[in-house]
Subunit: 437 residues, 3 copies
């Protein structure tokens, strides 16, 4: 045994670790090691029986949170790679801002707005978090099997999700929005927009009270669809980048670094294992393995499907379509990752991979300029994934309902477009950056 | 307690989480939390006694799978960095293809080909996976202590390995193979080649039935040696890049981005902790710490050894040799990471780091053009690692046998070269891309 | 059940996994699965009662080690991005060297120097590690609740920290130090400097024996402050890059790649969850969630604070200040991540984010050339974090003491500057690279 400590606490509770020369001391060490462990168990109160499962589940929660965090790097590099070099610093700055403000506002009001407790089901604004370890918040009684984590674990995992919606918008409005406006817009979006809309479902709001409850496992609609809708609204207001659409047709504005873009997509894929896997909300081994498998297979199917679709439609292999196909597969499986089998996941991902190619071409045709394809990847495929799980699920018929599934998408779209276009109709020129393309 | 749910399932099983105002409800909550946990345990059937260990081990399996996944990003950026800028998009596209097709074919036939069950020991082609959670696949009885994971966990961890062989080849044939041919070749390689060859050992085939069973912990030969052999065969057929070897000697074709290459190697190093650590196939703490330690020390020793070897041989420090030295150390320890001590690992890695420098120079001398050094890193060091564990192991003498260890390498090499050179002798020009260097 | 094995060991202990056709065999399988598990438990000896908690904690340790490893990639890309393109290869080479030599020297002497056991409290040099799994090193009795990992887990987690100090220096002396000298200097620093200074606190030395023991949770001072002090000393000796400071004022030498720098900072943020989270030294769920939360919030607050500080001071948004603000927040929370609440973390991080901007401007003003801001980020914010925890802690008053906290910073600074400036006063020209800017 090596005498070592790191915190004064340990110095107080574990003096046994200091010297161990002689039999008496060794026995004392054994006793004190046991005492330390017993104290840990005792801290779990009535739910001590589940201590080990709870510990493992909580560990998974925080690791998954770190993996979701890395998705923000993925978004940043993907966006930077798919846009022009002159805008790179601006884009990176926005992504640093988003993760920072997302975490802070989620602590200040987001978490308690997202999960308001007993509320009217539609609207409630919460206050800042306090000591979430207090009052049993650090025990299994916090959420039981269905939410096997501490209060702080719950907070940090959810906080990493919160900023995602804003980061999706960031890609869609790249290369033309004023920095200051984007900072304000993204702050409101993550602090209020995402969290209020999230409370309808995950917070126990009206979507959770439908006759056949709305189902969205890890956020095809609640996160990605919402981000896609917000992106669509923002693009409608901002208009396209200068020079993109002219009388002479569409001028492609190429990204400056495919390695950066590829790094971004691979990191997003990696992080998605935390995004979906962490949404099991415990380390229950059965669902965990299923969710990792469906997530990976849907991504792979999306990639392959968009590769072939692009070859057929564009007459050549296209890396950016392949990358978007991967993401399309991931978004498509996110709503139902725990209720479909491996081949259902392949089908859902593959269709997502086909959809995304046509969707990107469609939005370009109607002159909605989306530099990274965010509306198609997150919005359109988010809706596809949310609805299609009804057909591909392995759960008994009637478990999910098309009507319920559609309901939420409609709400997201409505709130985003209504709020933005209603409030900011003629301020387009104010929002646009002079540094635009 | 915060009322929150994510899935309808939870809404059904945990209504207790909704309202908790009043003593009676609180007691009900306690009871229902217990009921939820008891149901989870009951799902483990006869092996409920190991539920917590099983859960932790399974968690490690899926995290390790995600870490192995990130190796594919490492391979992609390493390969892109060490080649010319004009080929970057092509290389990234190939790497997206490989991970997608690797996952899909492994689900469609690879997994059941790799682990065919009771078979003749040489050849068996399996069908697609089904619901691997069924029939106890989500319990400890699936594999016990030696394979403490669910069926889906087993699948996804192995699936991440499968594409590795193809990705190794990708580096060796970079900058001159036609995209379509590579897509077909890599599909066959991961779907059939890797899995059949893998069944000889990990699937319980003839290599596992030798008098002294063949030992390859995480795949020095089974994965890396195989990939290296396939790369060698492909390079033999394709020939060198145009202009690389001429009457005036060797013209170095420099990589375009050392940062990309370095990012790749560090990510590979990171992912290798999942590759080797996950190959413990449980979270047993003793082996886990040993494997992490031997893996890290071998890599470090490989890096230092190749740095000094390059200084002596090339008369200057060489970053790409240092990077390849790190990888050489990693490949060298992969076969024996669980049966050598820390200083054995240092020795094995260091020798690997020396070997790789001379091997790269050697292949260049005999005009085998391998842009990223894949044959040397994965092939030659894979063989070194597989054989040298016999000398450096801390296991009792006689546990491993040189003859058994050599056997597999020979088989891999034979099958790869035979198949490729036999079937495609005069089609070299068809395989070569016009976009070649 | 799928017959599968990976190691000869498993072939010996788990023949049950091979064939399972028939009832008798199935029962045998059940029995042998149980036997395998019982053997695992029996290996834990007197501390078998904690096996599952120990296994989970050890798993967290090695995962955290891998996350800290990835910080070395973060440092490498941050440093490469913030310097000139012509020096990139040199910088990457140095970072490969540091991680390799850091791991090797930590095995050869660092670990046992860092944790010398019973010593005089000031100085002791240890020898190489041996089989750390021996003599109960792979059981809970190794360190109990306060250090719930095996000996090898302990080693590899600490080894990943060891090289950090040198990597911090690497950034500060970038673009002007001779490669050979840096290699020697960094070797001595990680082998002796960091470990001896670390033994004062974490090794049970004199800092741990103060009346109110010195508190540094994960290394604001022990790691970052030490690295910053060593960087300051090195910069004092080396002097600025040629042309940076002239009669005409300060000539900014811009970094060549902000994407690389941003990738570096995000990876450092990610790795910090392992750095701080792993320093809980077990998977105890309460502290784990708290530490993840305080770490993330401090980083976010640091980023936002430095963004606004830069806007006010520099009159424009500044990405590199934003990135350094994130890191400043992380360094600021590292000493007290487990003893402050979420809002204390926000305050500590925010002040760190303000400090770092002024500190970077200050060092530039006094002509201390620090290309990446390492002295400010790690040194100055390390001291801030170490001292400020006394004010922001939620622990009872009197738990920590300003005097004790200041003591260590003074020691680090003294030893670094004294040793370096004392021994190498007139060798500046020898140390400087002719390749300097």
């Amino acid at each position: 045994m090596i005498p070592k400590t790191k915190t004064p606490l340990i110095w107080l509770t574990a003096p046994f670790a200091l010297i161990a020369n002689g039999f008496a001391q060794e026995e004392a060490v054994v006793d004190e090691t046991k005492a330390g462990y017993d104290a840990l168990i005792a801290g779990q109160g009535d739910t001590a029986y589940a201590f080990d499962f709870f510990t493992t589940s909580m560990l998974w929660t925080v690791i998954a949170a770190a993996m979701v965090f890395i998705m923000h790097l993925g978004f940043a590099t993907l966006e930077a790679g798919l846009t022009q070099k002159k805008n790179t610093v601006n884009i990176l700055f926005k992504n640093v801002w988003i993760i920072c403000i997302g975490l802070l506002t989620y602590a200040a009001m987001g978490f308690n707005t997202h999960y308001p407790g007993d509320f009217n089901g539609y609207f409630s604004i919460g206050g800042p978090i306090g000591d979430l370890n207090a009052e049993g918040g650090d025990t299994f009684s916090y959420g039981g099997v269905g939410l096997a984590m501490t209060g702080f674990g719950d907070f940090i995992f959810q906080a990493m999700f919160a900023a995602t919606a804003a980061t999706i918008v960031s890609g869609a409005v790249a290369e033309r929005i004023k920095l200051g406006y984007f900072m304000i817009y993204s702050t409101i979006l993550v602090a209020v927009g995402y969290t209020v809309a999230g409370s309808w479902h995950w917070g126990g709001g009206f979507l959770a009270s439908l006759e056949v409850p709305f189902k969205d496992f890890a956020g095809s609609t609640v996160v990605h669809g919402f981000g896609g809708a917000a992106a669509l609204a923002a693009v409608m207001i901002l208009g396209p980048r200068a020079g993109k659409y002219s009388a002479n047709g569409v001028k492609p504005i190429l990204g400056h670094s495919m390695p950066l873009a590829a790094v971004g997509v691979f990191l997003l894929f990696f992080g998605w294992f935390g995004f979906n896997g962490g949404s099991v909300l415990s380390a229950a081994p059965g669902p965990l393995g299923l969710v990792f498998t469906t997530t990976a297979l849907a991504a792979a199917a999306g990639g392959v499907a968009s590769i072939f679709t692009a070859v057929i439609v564009l007459k050549k292999p296209d890396l950016s379509m392949a990358l978007n196909g991967l993401l399309a597969g991931l978004v498509s499986i996110t709503a139902g990752a725990d209720v479909v089998g491996p081949w259902g996941a392949v089908a859902m991902g593959a269709v997502g991979g086909v959809i995304v190619v046509f969707s990107i071409l469609f939005f370009d045709k109607i002159k909605m300029d989306d530099p990274v394809g965010a509306i198609s990847v997150h919005g359109v495929c988010g809706i596809w994934g949310t609805i299609s799980l009804v057909f591909f699920t392995t759960e008994p018929a009637g478990t999910f309902s098309i009507v319920s599934q559609v309901h939420r998408s409609r709400c997201s779209l409505w709130i985003c477009i209504r709020l933005l276009t209603g409030s900011l109709p003629d301020r387009k020129s104010n929002l646009r950056s002079s540094r635009q393309c």
